[in-house]
Amino acid sequence: MRRHRLAALAALALAVVPLLLVLVPLLPAQDEHAEASVERPLVTATTVPAPPTTRYTSPPRPKTPVLLPGGYDGCDHAYGERVQCVPWTFPPGTANGCDWLRQHGFGPLTVRGHDRHGLDTNGDGTACGRGDR
C-alpha cells in the first residue's frame, strides 16, 4: 500500500520536474513581480501601521456646499412613473423624443412637472400620447 503510494509520488515527481523545467523560464515573473522587484523600500514593509490614535488637525470644512445640477442621475423625473427614467438628454442625433421613447419601451407619460423636452405637444398633460407627434 505504502510502496504503491511512493511509486505514484515518484511518477508524479517525474512528470512535474520536466514540466517545471519548461515552466520556470515562463514563470520567472513570480519573483520579479513580487515585492523584490519593486525597488522602493516602502513596499517591503511587512506591516501596515495600526489605525491612527492621534487626533488629526484637519483643515476647516469649506463653507460652500458641493451643489449638483438637476437631472444628476441622467433622468428627467418630470415624466412618467417614478421608476421610469426619461433621459435628461436624448442621445445625440435623436430626431424625435417620443419615437425614441416608444422604441425603448415607454408608453404615454404623465407630465408631472416642467415639460423640458416638449413631448406633450397638445398640452393634455400626457407626453407622447396619441395627439403628440
Binding site: A29, P51, P52, Y56, D76, H77, V83, P87
Partner: protein, 688 residues
Amino acid sequence: MHTTKKGWLAFGASVAAAAMLYTPLVLLPASAAQNLMPNPGFSQVDADGKPVCWQDYGWGENRSDYGLTAEKALRLTMSERTSGDRKVMPAQNTDCAPQVAAGTQYDLSLTYRTSTPNTAITLFKHTAEKGWEYWTDLSTLAVTGEDKQFRVRTPAIPAGVDQLSWGVTAYGDGEAVTRDYSMTAVLADPPRKRCQAGQACPKGQWDVLPYQSPVRGIHAVLLHTGKVLLIAGSGNDPSAFERGSFTSAVYDPAAGTFTSVPTPSDLFCSGHTQLADGRILVMGGNAGYPTEDGKANYKGLAVSYIFDPATNSYQRTNDLTAGHWYPSATTLGNGDVISLGGLDEKSEGSVSVEYFSQEKGRWLAGNEINQTWKFWGLYPSMILTAEGKLFYTGSHVFGNGLDGTGSSLYDYGSGTIRDVEGLQDKDNRDQSMSVLLPPAQDQRVLTLGGGNINTNVAANRHTDIIDLKEKNPRHKPGPQLPQGHMTDGTPQGHGEGKMYLSAVILPDGQVFETGGGLHNRSDPVFEASMFDPKTNTFTEGMATDPVPRGYHSSAFLLPDGRVLAVGNNPGDGSFDQRISVYSPSYLYKGTRSKITSVASKNWTYGSAQQITVDRPVAKAVLIRPAAVTHSSDPNQRSVDLPMAVDGDRLTLTVTANQNMAPPGWYMLFAVDADGVPSVAEWVRVGDA
C-alpha cells in the same frame, strides 16, 4: 441567418425590397420563423362571422365595427368619432394572445390599406402582477388605397411580461383593412451548438439559469461560504421605498436557493467591502428619491451595518459622520476601511472622509479622521496601492469626471492628493470599470470604456493602462475595447464602445470583460472579450451573455471558476432578475487539478504555506472575493503566490506586504500549465 438579419434591417428603408426578403426566411429553422399570431389567416370563424381568437377593444364616443371581408381580411371601420378608439387584436386571454419571452424583440408585420391617417400599431402586455395593460403604440400607418406591407420591430420585452397582444387601432373616421398578421421572435444570435464537456469551447459558454433572483441584484458580494449576498434595498423603486420595503437575499449558487435577509435600511446604492474576518461592511444608502419637480435629488444615509455570513443578518454599527449615497469602500492593508464620495443627507456632494477602524470596531468620529473635504464624486474607484495609497482611477458614476486630470493618488496619512496624468477623455468615463490587473504584484491598472449619462454621448472604446510602480505613474492608452452588436443584431458603429461593463479577474490570469450598454440606461451591447495582461491585448469574440447587462448589473467570479452575472435596470423602470453564468474555455479542457489539502486556513504575511494537489500545476493565486456594484469593485485583486514544488506538495509564499493582499478571506486557486484552474479553497490572510 446573419445575412437575413441584415436584410431585415435594410428593409425599413425600402418597402419594395421586402418581398424578396421572405425567401431566405424559409431557410430558417422552424422555431425562428414561427408565426406566433393566433388564427393568422382568419381561416377559423365563429358563428357571428368573426375570426376566432380575435377581439375588439375600445372606448369613447364613436361608431365602430369590425368583421371579415370576402377575401378574409379584417375590416375595421369608424365614423362619427368625437373621442376614443377601436382596436382589433388577439383576444387578451391565456389561449389566444402570443406568449413572449422577456428581453426578446419581435418582428410584427401585416398587409394593410387605410383611408384614415389616424391608425396606429398598438401593443398590450400581460404580467402576472398587473394582468393586461396598454404598453405602447409603435407606429402609425400612412393612408393608402393599395395593399401595402408594414413591418416593425418591438423593443425588448420588459422583465415580467409573458404575453403580448397587438393590432391596428383606429382613432379617426375611416376604414382600415388588414391581413397577413405575423409575429416572429428576433434571434440576436443564430442558435449555437452547446459546448460539451471535454470538447474545446474557445469562446466559453453562457447559461441563463432556470430561476430568477427574488431580489434586484444591484449589489453582489461573494461570501467566504461560497454564497452570494445580493442587496437591493428599495431596488430603485420609489414605491418600495415609501412602503419601507427593503430587500436582500443570500443566494447559494450550488443549491440554487435564496434565503431572504431582513434589511433594516434602504441599502440601495450603499457601499460595501469585505472585512478581515469575512464579515461585510456596508455603509450609506438611500435616504430619499428625487422629486418630480426636479428640485430635490437623491439623499444619502449615514447608517452602516456589518453583514455576518454566519447568521445571515445585518448588525448596525455607529453612523458615518455624514450621509453617503454611492460611496466607495476600500479595505486597507491593516484591515481598516476608507469610504469616500456620494451624495449626503442634503443631496449635496458628500465631502467627508469616512474611516472604519478594525481595531476599534467602529467608524471614527469626525475629529479622529484626517479630513481633506474633497468631493470625490459617486462610486469613485479607489484602488489600494502597494504603498498604501488610494489610486483614484477615474472610473466613477454619473456624468463628468473630477476636475484636473480626472485621476489621482491620495495619501490618507498625509492628506495629500496628487493628480495623475494621461487618462483619456476623463469626462466620458462614467460607469467605466477599472481593475487592478493580475497579478497584484505588477501594480498595473486597466480602465475600460465609459460614457456620460448627462450628455448621453455614445459610450466609448477607450482603455487606459497605468503602471503604479513607475516613479511618476501615468495612464497610457491601451487597445480599443472590442465591438459587439446591439439587441437587434446591428453591429456597433464607429467609435462606439460600452459603459456599465464588467471586468472580472479569472484564475488563469486573464480578465474577462462582459456586458454593458451604449447610452444612459438604454441600448445594451452584446460583446465579451478576454484581456491578457501579459500582452496588453484583447481576444475578441467571447460568448456573450444572452441577457442584457446595463445599469445596475454586475459580473463576478465564483469559487468554481465560473462567472456569475446579475441585474439590469433600463430606463423604462423594469429590472431584469435573471441570473446568467459564464463557463470560460478553461472549463472545457479536460480534468481539472484539485487542491487535495491545505495545511492551514490562516495565512500570515510573509509565511510559507503547504498545500497538496492531485496533479502538476503551474501556479497558485489568491483572488479576493467580489463586493461589486455599478461596475465598481476596487478591492478586486489576484495575488500571485511564488511556489516551490516537491512532488504533489507545494510550498506557497504569502506576500509580506499587507497592502498587496489586504487581510481577509481569499479564494486559493491552483492553475495548471494549460490555464485550467482548480476549484478554489478558501483561506484567510491576516494576522495570526
